[in-house]
Every structure is written in C-alpha cells, then in structure tokens.
Symmetry: C2
Subunit: 194 residues, 2 copies
DNA sequence: ATCGTGATGACACGGCATGTCATCACGGTA
DNA sequence: TACCGTGATGACATGCCGTGTCATCACGAT
C-alpha cells in the first residue's frame, strides 16, 4: 500500500467538477476541492495554476495541433481551401457528437466572468499559432493574421448556432452557412471605400 | 478644508499608473497604490472591482457608443458600408493621434496575462453590443454576429500593424488594406466546399 | 542495501477582496 | 442656528488565493 493513492490529478479534477456542478464555480473554494479529494491545498496548485485551469486541462496541445494541421496541408492549397478544410476537420473530430457535454461546459463558463476570459485566451492562443503556421507557409503577415482570426470567428459563430439549435443538424452545415454568409456580405460590389 | 480631498478616484488612477510604469503591474500592490494616493486599501476597492480595472476605466461607455453608431447609420446602408464607415469613424476619433499612448498601454497589457484576458473581454463585450445593434437593424442573427466579429478582427489586425509600423501612415490605411486583403482571400472562386 | 528522484504534506506568508460599522463633511430644512 | 439625511471614507476583521520552503515518504535504479 502506497502512501498516496496514485491518481491525485484525476481525483482533484473529479472533485472540482462535482463541486462546480453542486454549488457553482465561484462558490467553490480550493480548500473544499482538496478536502473532497483527500489532498492538501498546496498540492492543488502543483497541478493547476489556478482554480479555472481544472476546466481547461489538456488545452496545451491545441496550438501544436493547429500548427500541424496547417503545415500538413497540401502545398498547393490556397488560403480559402486551407481554412475550410481545417475547420471541417476540427468540427468533425473535436466537436461533432459531443454536443451535450459542450452545452454543459458552456453553461459553467458563462456563469463566471473569469472563466469567460480564460476561454477567450484559449481562442487567442490558438489564433496566434494559426497565424504563425500561415506565415511559415509564406502568407503575408496581415493575410495570415486575418485568416487565423476569421477562422476563429467562423468556428465560434457556427459553434454557437449549432449549440443553440433545436434540431440535430451537423456542425459543418453551420460552418458552410457561416462562410457563405460572410463571403456574400463582403462581396457586395460598389461598396469599397474611396 | 474638507476631511477628504475631493478627487479620490483620480488620485488612485494616477498613483496606479505611475507605479505600473515604475515597477510593473504584477509587482505593484493595492496597498502601495493607496498609500501613494493617501487613501486606504478598502477605498480602492470601492472605486475599482480589482487591480486591473484601473487600466479599463471608462470602458463601460464603449458598448453604448458602438450601438449608437450602428443605429444612427442611414437605413439604406448595406452591411459592408456599415462596417467600413463605423471602423473609419472609430479609427479617426479614438485612435488616430494617440499612437504613443496606445503603444505604452499595449506594453503594460502585454506584460501580464491577466491584463491580456481583460482586454479580450473588452473586445467580446463590444462585439456583443455590435451584434445586438445589427440584429435591431434587421440583419439575420448569424450575419449580425459575423459582421461584429469581422469588424473586430479588421480593427484588431489593422491596429497591431499600425502600432508596429516604422513610418507614420494613418490607421485607416491599414484598415483599408486589411479589408481588401480579407475580401480577396475570401473571394477565390472555385474553392467553395462540396 | 543504498541512493536519487519525484510527489506530497506541513507550515508560513503576503496580497487580494469583501463585510461591517463608525466617523465625518456636506446640503437641505426648519 | 440647530438638526438631520446622505454619501464617502476610515478602521477593523475575515477568508481565500497563490507561492516559497523544507521535511517526508515511496519507488526504481544500481
């Protein structure tokens, strides 16, 4: 029998999510979490930089994943096909089929401003990775930044509509709809300034 | 002579900005700020919800301003002219001529992750206001959201380039450049999925 | 059997943020 | 002049947040 049960991190995460569900994120304190997990407060902060990070575990891999996805695309791909392909892949592999979980998570994140800010940083970090990857493909700096930010916008807007829907349409349909809408909005002729 | 000098809020802000510049945001404590301002710690938190808010004073008016700008546009304006006009107005009235100040502020915000997150929330709050205003103009929900997010993207990307430039080109030139770049990127024909 | 490594406990500490009540200036009113 | 309501501030207490530091113990390698 070992001095410590070997799953400290898992116990902390489980205890934290239980308490967040029972009494809300803000009302939950780290001492409460560690008491339920059978650990000390100090140990919590060895595994998570702060209370919010429990809900963002495993996020660190996302920038690298985004980079790889951009870098591995065929060299002939123009910017537009690049982002449509990447967004489609992300939608199918990371979101489709998890709607119920994502709805629950969105509810918790919305309940606390601090969590909302953390979620925004996640988006910003991924955007920076995509921007860097696009520049490595040879895109001009501004094009790369616009491409990354616009991809995030399309995914974000489509995701909200997908979560809010009554029916059961797949996420990629909302993505196509968003892209079509944005393209037509920006394609109005004769409206260029000057 | 009154018991309290009447400019508590201004003294707090001045003391805070001085200390942030002298020793950095993270290294500055609220007690230090209030001591320099000649007030108590408790009084600081009566004026600012937390230490970061000193750098975001006056932000509360931005959503209403954005709403007004959208609502006051001529009813005939299509989405594209709407955002180009609004962005041009924002660029000229709130940014042009303040490049040095904005560079200093960006430096402070970049020095601390917490400040970066707060800045992202500012952008999100304005986006929500613009989305709501666009919906009140009768735009479909998804179009409104895309329009707001894309406007923020254009302004954000142009702003960074404007701040980073060596020369002295006006911000609206970077805005035009960003819009042109985005439109051409999204206008590639034959790249529509399916 | 010994030692290094790594995770955890235990303790201390300062800053953060809030609740509560007393205090004082100011303006209005009689 | 006297009184009173209002609002800002001071003073005090409290609990959580997050980090530094050192001791302790299990485990694996040698």
């Amino acid at each position: 029998m070992s001095r410590w049960r070997p799953d400290a991190r898992e116990r902390l995460e489980r205890a934290a999510l239980e308490l967040f569900a029972e009494q809300g994120f803000a009302a939950t304190t780290v001492p409460q979490i560690t008491e339920r997990a059978g650990l000390t407060t100090r140990t919590f902060f060895r595994h998570y930089a702060d209370k919010r990070e429990v809900l963002f575990a495993g996020e660190a891999e996302l920038p690298a994943m985004a980079r790889r996805m951009i870098a591995d695309a065929p060299p002939s791909a123009d910017p537009l096909t690049l982002i449509t392909g990447a967004l489609r892949a992300v939608a199918d592999t990371r979101f489709e089929g998890r709607r119920a979980d994502l709805l629950r998570r969105r509810e918790i994140v919305r309940s606390d401003p601090g969590l909302g800010e953390r979620e925004l940083r996640k988006r910003a970090v991924i955007c920076e990775a995509v921007t860097a990857a696009c520049r490595e493909r040879g895109f001009p700096a501004m094009t790369a930044a616009l491409l990354a930010e616009t991809s995030a916008t399309l995914l974000f807007v489509a995701l909200q509509a997908w979560l809010d829907q009554d029916g059961d349409r797949p996420l990629h349909e909302f993505l196509d709809e968003a892209l079509t809408s944005l393209r037509s909005t920006l394609s109005v002729t004769g409206a260029v300034p000057h």
